[in-house]
């Protein structure tokens, strides 16, 4: 698809094994009397341990695709396989963690109890839970807020807490929907560092939705570019910076600037279309 796929040496870490397979996926919503075609014939694979970014304008069906992979909504056509097994709507696949675009922290639980929620469900004893919560709280830069309720946190702090609530149960497949959308640039890059270190350690398979090209380049092995509605795959780009990456230094390389410019052009077209739809 893209000229840049000539750099065949894909990320060495990602094994060739397919972890997530999306085949001919489409989705239409019925709103009153009109039908909204959100996703049209989307196909892609994600290898084990691969970090894939989904990039596209608002309304291009990125969240819808993640929701279908998470088995939260039914597709209108096509199928999704995780480890070769078909995803059944309504039946959560174990091992899949989802960081939602919208704030879904439980307002009736403190930040610490929100983060520890998954451990509580699986009956991890309180003392161990406490330790692991403290670790996560520190990683997310939320120290001192363990006993606060989410209503007392800023939007960005809530996002970090929500991220930790998902990561603490160590899911092997991570769906992340603009998890850092509400952060300032500085905090965002801090969180990129945190996420990269966790990912290098845990080697999860990641599908990461974002509007931010810089973010996609910093984090991903591959960028899938969505077109304006109805969402289709417009292009794919390999991102072959060396691993492990430094979230700050990677931005300073020449190769980064090249890739940025190249993708920016493609992206620009879609964003203009996205606005006019």
């Amino acid at each position: 698809m893209s000229t840049l796929e000539t750099s065949v040496t894909t990320s060495s870490r990602a094994s060739a094994e397919r972890r997530v397979e999306v085949k001919g996926l489409s989705k239409s919503f019925q709103l009153a009397k009109t039908t909204i075609e959100a996703v049209r014939d989307v196909s892609f694979d994600v290898r084990r341990g691969e970090f894939v970014a989904l990039l596209g304008p608002s309304g291009s069906g990125k969240s819808t695709v993640l929701n279908m992979i998470a088995s939260l909504i039914r597709s209108s056509g096509g199928e999704i396989l995780i480890d070769g097994k078909r995803v059944v709507p309504g039946k959560a696949t174990p091992d899949v963690g989802y960081v939602f675009q919208r704030d879904t922290l439980f307002p009736w639980r403190t930040v610490g109890d929100n983060i520890g929620y998954g451990l509580e469900l699986s009956g991890v004893p309180a003392s161990e839970r406490k330790e692991r919560i403290a670790e996560c709280v520190a990683q997310a830069g939320l120290r001192g807020f363990e006993n606060a309720y989410p209503s007392a946190l800023s939007g960005g702090m809530r996002q970090r807490a929500a991220l930790m609530r998902t990561l603490i149960v160590e899911p092997q497949i991570l769906l992340m929907d603009e998890p850092f959308g509400a952060l300032d640039t500085h905090t965002k890059i801090d969180m990129h560092e945190v996420l990269l270190r966790i990912w290098e350690r845990e080697q999860q398979t990641v599908l990461f939705v974002t509007h931010d090209l810089g973010e996609a380049l910093t984090l991903a092995d591959r960028i899938i570019l969505f077109s304006a509605r109805p969402g289709r795959i417009k292009d794919m780009f390999e991102v072959d910076f060396v691993r492990p990456r430094d979230a700050v230094k990677v931005r300073e390389t020449e190769h980064y600037a090249e890739l940025f410019q190249h993708i920016w052009h493609s992206l620009g077209e879609e964003f203009v279309k996205g606005r006019s739809v």
Partner: protein, 286 residues
């Protein structure tokens, strides 16, 4: 919002009490001089007077004897009347409590089950609407007929007025749960029961509590009406007896006791709500 000093607020409250009580106490005395100003309703024959109510309270509660002296034989005084003020209050409170608790628990459980099941709520909807259209208090005579003049009929009357109130609020609450919360829980590995316990119940709590303050008054109303219709003991019975004797002070004592009981019960609910729903309030000081 402008903030007023607490003292100013309390000052006004004391002033209002003083004015109302004074008019009640001495208003009718003005009738001889200003007949056009004072309505018939202020006649102590109907509404008694604060001082008379207080005296009557002391006598009914066996704190002083009929002669006005301190009552040395409290126990004997109580034993003379099975439905003395203390016993009547205790029995009314007890029945209110049972009616309230059974009503809240059954209304809550039914509301949760129906609120979480589209199928069940579709099946039961017409019945619920029909039964809800009956003014439940109108069933009190039938209930007394069916359950006798003992405690059971009061508890049932109280239950029937409470249960629907709590049911509807819980039902609405369970229907309006944010799907984002249940989805998040499910993806973190929660079973259906865990979702109910950790998501459905906490997020329905605010709705349930909104119904509890009216529910406690309703529970009290249910018991009193039951006692009006047929009872041997209870505050409702005291009111009926005083009315038969044409004794306004006696009725007023019972009414004041009911008011105090209602205030205390509501305060308990408030405290419980402030604790259980503390997450709704937490905001740092500005």
């Amino acid at each position: 919002m402008k903030r007023y000093s607490a003292l100013g607020t309390v000052g006004w409250q004391v002033l209002i009490c003083a004015v109302v009580l004074s008019v009640w106490q001495w208003g009718y005395d003005l009738r001889t001089r200003l007949p056009w100003l004072v309505p018939d309703l202020l006649d102590p024959y109907f509404i008694s007077k604060p001082s008379m109510i207080f005296d009557n309270f002391l006598i009914q509660s066996c704190l002083i004897s009929k002669l006005g002296a301190f009552n040395g034989d409290f126990g004997k005084c109580l034993a003379r009347n099975e439905n003395n003020l203390w016993a009547a209050t205790a029995i009314t409170l007890k029945n209110t409590f049972f009616g309230f608790v059974t009503g809240v628990v059954s209304g809550f459980v039914a509301g949760l089950i129906l609120g979480r099941s589209d199928r069940l709520s579709a099946i039961f909807q017409p019945f619920i609407t029909a039964v809800n259209s009956i003014p439940r208090i109108a069933l009190a005579p039938i209930i007394v007929l069916a359950f006798g003049i003992g405690d059971m009929s009061k508890i049932v009357t109280s239950w029937i007025v409470v249960v629907f109130l709590v049911f509807f609020n819980t039902f609405e609450g369970a229907r309006s749960i944010d799907e984002g919360f249940t989805n998040a829980a499910r993806l973190l590995g929660a079973s259906e029961w865990q979702i109910t316990r950790t998501v459905v119940i906490p997020s329905t709590m605010a709705w349930v509590f909104a119904s509890l303050t009216p529910a406690i008054s309703f529970a009290l109303i249910g018991v009193i009406v039951g006692e009006f219709i047929g009872a041997e003991r209870g505050i409702g019975r005291l009111i009926i007896e005083s009315e038969a004797r044409g004794e306004a002070s006696g009725m007023m004592v019972a009414v004041v006791v009911l008011m105090l009981v209602g205030v205390v019960l509501s305060a308990i609910i408030w405290r419980l709500q402030a604790y259980l729903l503390r997450w709704q309030r937490q905001r740092g000081a500005e």
